[in-house]
């Protein structure tokens, strides 16, 4: 996190400006879905095998 150096900074391209946040949201949704399946299984709403 020592990101003060100018050499470490970057300027994202236009497509990157859209792609990276979309990927982060997608990954977060995937994480939530995974946890939700496990919790539902724990609660017996879907069967734990």
């Amino acid at each position: 996190m020592n990101g003060s150096s100018k050499s470490k900074r970057f300027q994202p391209s236009k497509w990157m400006e859209r792609l990276v946040p979309a990927l982060l949201v997608l990954l977060l949704l995937g994480l939530l879905a995974t946890i939700a399946i496990v919790v539902l299984a724990m609660l017996g709403i879907i069967s734990v095998v």
Partner: protein, 239 residues
Amino acid sequence: MHYISILSTIMTFIFAAAVFNRYRYKKGNHLLMWGIGLIFYGLGTLTEVLLSFSFSGLALKIWYLSGAMLTAAWLGQGTIFLLIRKRGVAQTLAIILGLVSVGAFVLIMVAPVTAAAADFVTSQPVSAQYQQILERSGLITLLTILLNIYGTIALVGGAIYSAYLFWRKKVLINRVLGNILIAAGALMPAMAGSFIKAGLVDWLYVSEFLGVLLMYAGFLQATATKPVEQKKPLVTTAH
């Protein structure tokens, strides 16, 4: 099917060697935890290979203990060490994880293998057959779920959070991309594992291969440094 597990095993142990090598000269508890987590990952895929040749109760138990119970938690513990800087917190969690892991080992080793083992089909994935063969107590199931929730949130959530921080500050693009790859890679076997637990589609072997491939690519990307940056200490998310 076992070819995928062979590839996963080779890839995982190469990855583990790279992490331990980095630990040798960087000395960070996060690297040690990740290395241990990758050894468990590799043991899980290695026992899949062994079980594709012939059945062994011990191999099945090692597969369940390492692959289903411990891998995610130990990998996640690495990220906990990296992200939680408050003194003693990560260490305490690591001690708890160590004790729980020992408990899990004992529980799995004493868990009975049922007569269904005689019907084990080596050409079918173990993930599709273990439920009938390895008798698991409620405590084992509970520990499996808790360890996986803990590990998945820490590893995937931690990587997403790290990527977001670097992205927001617009610094170190390699760590943004590296953490995205790590999160995606870690999510794959986690999703596949939860699908199996819920009795849904079984794509565990493929997810393990893609998972380790993406995580290794992410690790290489995140730890890639330009010559000018090599002398500086790597702080947060130095995967």
